[in-house]
């Protein structure tokens, strides 16, 4: 995302203009814009004019509109992208859609004040955002994070599962007699389908691409890698062959399900490549929390009420918080969490904000969306009793 302009005074009043470029940027915008904010963006509106004779003339006009947001919707994958392999946070195919609905608050020759409109936010079109109750630290840090140049480290992952993918043919298991050859035949067919899906979905020609990860339990990843390599050779796909040689990484995971993507991000091969990126850091932090839960239960707390109690006692070393909590439509709730993050950071603690668009964030959401690793042990029940006694 490009930062086009930023005019924010020290009290948080002002506006920020941004130019989204890919899916991830749409997600950032979705998290930035809240109910009540005013958003200015280009829009296409059908304008009807009634002439003196009574005939109705309808025109589509491209114009800039400023809305006061009443509703905001994000859908990550359009129907066309519903395929077996998915590009996780990839910008190659813009499939995320962001829609902002609200009332027009600036007069315009074509549109009346107070008329409703729904904006479809498009890539590479500027969006100006003005916050209803000022820019808080979380919102500003998100703007910074989203607009840092060179953020373009992306990871394309192809998730694959022989049994559940819609593309995929069922593979008969090996059986006593005839099953064996059937198994092999189906397997070849499966690799073929996978190769086609690979070509269709993965932008292997893209120079910005960091790594192509083949992850699976067992040796399927090796077989698939070899097959794709061979097939590329046979069909003379030089670009693909080179991309595979340079960027192909094979990683062992324990299950073919989507939540094993976290394992991929934690694996040493990928962690090294993505050392400074948020994905790896989030995965590692969540892992740390789980480990703490196992070794010292009193130092790993989760749930909004408990975490707030721990923060009151200045005990939080690392705060894990999901962006879903900041998206709360109720500004009071959002303010509460913003204050929590600020207080933790003030006391020298670390706050890691998880994105619900990624697997680690979804796992945190399941865990009530907020968790904390404490610097010293505290017994939940004792603390609760203390609070009740007050």
């Amino acid at each position: 995302m490009k930062l086009v302009g930023k005019f924010v005074d020290k009290h948080g009043a002002g506006h920020v203009s941004l130019r989204p470029e890919d899916d991830e940027d749409m997600w950032h915008l979705y998290n930035l814009i809240q109910k009540g904010d005013s958003v200015r963006a280009p829009a296409i509106r059908r304008v009807q004019k009634t002439s003196a004779t009574g005939s109705i003339e309808s025109q589509r006009i491209r114009l800039n509109l400023t809305l006061e947001v009443t509703n905001i919707e994000f859908s990550s994958f359009s129907a066309a992208a519903e395929q077996s392999s998915s590009t996780d946070p990839s910008g190659s195919n813009n499939s995320a859609a962001l829609q902002i609905a609200g009332r027009v608050i600036s007069e315009n020759p074509h549109v009346k004040l107070g008329a409703f409109h729904t904006l479809d936010i498009e890539a590479n079109r500027d969006v100006r955002i003005e916050k209803a109750d000022g820019w808080d630290s979380i919102a500003l840090s998100r703007v910074n994070e989203a607009t840092v140049p060179g953020r373009e480290q992306k990871l394309v992952q192809s998730t694959y599962d022989p049994r559940h993918s819609p593309d995929i043919v069922p593979i008969p298991r090996k059986a006593a007699a005839s099953g064996s050859s059937q198994h092999e035949k189906a397997l070849t067919k499966f690799y073929g389908t996978l190769y086609d899906a690979f070509i269709r979905h993965i932008p292997f020609g893209n120079v910005g691409l960091k790594a192509i990860v083949f992850a699976s339990p067992g040796w399927v990843r090796d077989s698939v890698y070899d097959y794709v390599m061979q097939e590329a050779g046979r069909r003379g796909e030089k670009v693909l062959q080179r991309a595979l040689k340079e960027k192909g990484v094979r990683i062992h995971i324990s299950s073919p399900h989507v939540h094993s993507l976290v394992e991929v991000l934690k694996s040493p091969e990928i962690a090294a490549q993505l050392k400074e990126t948020k994905f790896a850091r989030r995965g590692i932090t969540l892992d740390k929390f789980h480990k703490m839960l196992a070794t010292d239960e009193l130092r790993a707390w989760y749930g909004p009420d408990h975490v707030v109690l721990a923060a009151d006692r200045g005990a939080i070393g690392t705060l894990l918080i999901s962006d879903e909590l900041f998206r709360a439509s109720d500004p009071v709730t959002r303010k509460k969490y913003v204050a929590l993050v600020e207080s933790v950071q003030q006391k020298g603690g670390d706050a890691v904000i998880f994105s619900s668009m990624h697997e680690s964030g979804q796992q945190l959401n399941q865990l009530s969306g907020i968790a904390a690793i404490l610097t010293f042990p505290l017994d939940v029940e004792v603390v609760e009793a203390e609070e009740a006694g007050r």
Binding site: S86, K174, A176, P217, H257, V258, N365
Partner: protein, 514 residues
Amino acid sequence: MTGPSTPTKLGMNRGPSTPARGIGVDQRTLDLSGLNLTEKEDRSAIFEEAPKTRFARDKLLEEAKKVIDSEGTERKKEVSLVVIGHVDAGKSTLMGRMLYELGRLDEKTRLANERGSNKAGKSSFSWAWSLDGTTEERERGITMDIALQSMSTPHRHITILDAPGHKDFIPNMISGASQADCALLVVDAATGEFEAGFDRGGQTREHILLVRSLGVSQVVVAINKLDQVQWSKSRYDEICDFLRPFLVQSGFHPSKTRFVPVAAMQGVNLVSLDEDAAQELRQWYNGPTLADHLDQLDAPARDIYTPLRIPISNVFKGSTSGTAVSGRLCGGVVQVGERLRVLPGDETAAVKLIEVKDESVPWAAAGMNATLYLTSIDPVHLNIGNVLCPPTNLVPLATTFTARIIIFDIQIPITCGASIELFHHSRDVPATITNLVSTLDRASGSIIKKKPRVLTKGTSAEVQITLRTQSLSGPFVARPIPLESFSVNKDMGRILLRRGGETIGAGIVLEIFG
């Protein structure tokens, strides 16, 4: 519906079908104690005949009952056996050799395998090749999927499910174990190998817990590769002493566990102890051979009066026409010509042919591993993990349900919202533990604490489980799976939970919310 579990009890009490019932210990009390699987029995309950649907059905049930009752007297008893153990313990080799000794594997195939494996530079895998059929398995010298074979001893017809030992293929092993009545545990006696398999991260321990949680209550332990430790009796005793307490702790009754020393590669003590190679073993062992032990396995009770349930474990193209599916019947009877519903889904199929042990039969009953040839259905609707049931009596579909689980030896405790993989027969689906309802006392089942924060190792608990969507893209709602509560159908109500490549718990389904 009448209580479907009642007929079993009645059958067990009077039926000559289960002669072993009186001897030894009541099998029903042997389930994992922490799960409190034994239910209070209401012996006064009288079984009411299911409403008469078709005359033919009554007749079929009668015939099935008669045939099952005659097992052990006129016919050989049918048992299915899953072969388990750590990777490279010699499971496939043992079974390959066993098949040869019992005459199931002809000389020609044996020679072909020997030549083939020699050529590949893996002569030690020659016996395993009779079960490891695929190119990849042979190349890597490792079993990757369940191999199904059958053999017969003087008094038993045994269906063998050779399970993979490697930890990445445990899903396949679970699929096999859920079709078995008994287990054959193969352990490697070589110095250091047994310990590696038994320690944390080894599959010996995990496999034992898995098969037990899936309702297997008899186990034969074959101590393999004794030739590599010079047939040392002390080593044999050491391993037995090591395993015995663990097996008891896992819920296997001592009278249902048997130990036998073997050397699979040489074929020592598999069927006989007479060969030259067995000379050293004969000096201190003259007990029963492995085949003798297998010949004494008890056949489980067959519940033919419950509604039909067939979880599909394999789908392939039939030799003539139609699509073949195989799996074990978890209840009821099925006959040729019947229409069956495929769940999940809206499709029905007609049964054209039923095969049990490579022979065409007119019907199959609960407990049998059958292959059904289905017609009038598009094969795309048949998938591994689907369940076949009568159109009049459907399996409920579940996305959210409560379960009573027991947590295994895990490092990271389970919190609310933990991502897990749920295993049910041949199906594994991603799921989330959405609610920790309560922790329970392992012995009495009474509630210790409501709404616990975490579940640590060794606890027994009631939790709510919700299925997750299968992929990142596509529909965001989880697809339901066919499931039944344990009180309705035992086989259909057992689940296993895994996470990050290790089994974290096992349990039973209590209630399905939809």
